[in-house]
């Protein structure tokens, strides 16, 4: 059995190229792309690394939906025609490779690390930062983020407003604010509580529906909103 793989190419101008791939049991979209690159056209550009949904490198649109190519089996797409395109809301470097500079700059802007008032103690801790299981539960799912950019690509607000941090950055802001060990809430709220910040989320929920790790960034944003509205500290 064969499938038709339609790959978005960026040179000389954006177009699609069709490849016929022999289907194997358990074949993923990434496997099909690697087959095409190894046997049919060496010039296909794509980014991948771990092949097991850990590194978040192979995010792309598969049949119009942002997905991890390594995590998507062809059998689950229920079609013999597969169309792969680069992620939306990111500049295209070449073919399926997109520029994540903007995405990572938003991520960095929310200070995605523990902030303690006592810097000396943080650098040279004398004891562990203890947490109860229920305190860990508050942010645990958000710490599973692999920064694949699928939620950023699916977000309709990011599509309209490039200054909007996006669901990934906002969910990470929540992840650290909700962490009982963190004391940097004000620093993060200063970044996200702006005219192009958290208030611009329209709760479309696409971020949560495309997350390959089952994280719910939309929920994180709503929980974070309680902090910005001073309803919760």
């Amino acid at each position: 059995m064969e499938i038709s793989l339609s790959v978005s190419r960026s040179t000389p101008k954006r177009h699609f190229e069709e490849f016929t791939i022999p289907l194997q049991k358990g074949m993923t979209v990434l496997d099909a792309l690697i087959y095409a690159k190894e046997n049919l056209d060496h010039s296909i550009a794509m980014r991948y690394s771990c092949r097991m949904a850990v590194c978040g490198s192979c995010g792309m649109k598969v049949n119009g939906r942002p997905m991890l190519a390594c995590y998507t089996q062809i059998s689950e797409l229920k079609s013999n025609r597969i169309k792969v395109e680069p992620l939306d809301n990111c500049a295209i470097i070449r073919d399926l490779v997109t520029d994540f500079a903007e995405f990572f700059s938003h991520h960095k802007s929310v200070h995605p690390y523990l902030i303690r008032n006592d810097v000396k103690e943080q650098d040279n801790p004398v004891k562990e930062f203890l947490q109860k299981p229920e305190e860990v539960e508050k942010y645990l799912q958000y710490s599973y983020c692999i920064k694949c950019g699928l939620c950023y690509s699916a977000c309709p607000t990011v599509a309209a407003d490039k200054e909007f941090p996006g669901p990934q950055a906002l969910a990470q802001a929540y992840r650290y604010i909700a962490d009982s060990r963190d004391e940097g809430i004000q620093k993060r709220i200063d970044v996200i509580d702006t005219a192009h910040g958290i208030a611009r989320c329209h709760f479309a929920g696409t971020c949560s529906s495309v997350c390959p790790k089952g994280i719910d960034p939309a929920q994180g944003i709503q929980l974070l909103r309680r902090y910005t509205l001073s309803l919760k500290r």
């Binding site: 607000t157 509580d193 005219a195 192009h196 208030a199 509205l229």
Partner: protein
């Protein structure tokens, strides 16, 4: 609210936005109930002297006060909603400031003009 710019956090503006939304619902409902009880629809709609009947309704303090509240809530809610749409459409400090100032000016003008109408109707 818009002229405070960077000094007023977006979350505060949005809190006022939600509050004004509820305010529209409450003051709008009170307004409709008062119109029903204070004035008579038949009188208000009558060609002959209907205008005086409407003006007479404004003399009722509760009615005028609710109408003033409704005016403020609607002006804030509508123009803040428009501001949100416009700053999402295009980005840039200059554009944002222009949107804030122009919309604040229009909203302020509408509130002042509406307040004047309410006050004048009470004085007639």
């Amino acid at each position: 609210m818009f002229f405070l710019g960077d000094y007023l956090r977006e979350s505060r503006i949005m809190l006022l936005h939600y509050f004004s939304g509820v305010g529209i619902l409450v003051s709008g409902a009170i307004h409709l109930v008062l119109v029903f009880f204070v004035g008579s629809y038949e009188e208000n709609l009558s060609f002959d002297g209907g205008i005086f009947s409407v003006i007479a309704v404004y003399r009722n303090f509760a009615f005028a006060f609710t109408l003033e509240l409704l005016l403020i809530f609607v002006a804030f809610h509508a123009f803040n909603g428009l501001r949100v749409i416009l700053i999402e459409l295009y980005q840039g400090k200059k554009w944002e400031m222009s949107v804030n100032w122009v919309l604040t000016a229009i909203a302020a003008f509408l509130v002042i003009y509406g307040t004047r109408t309410v006050l004048l109707a009470r004085l007639i």
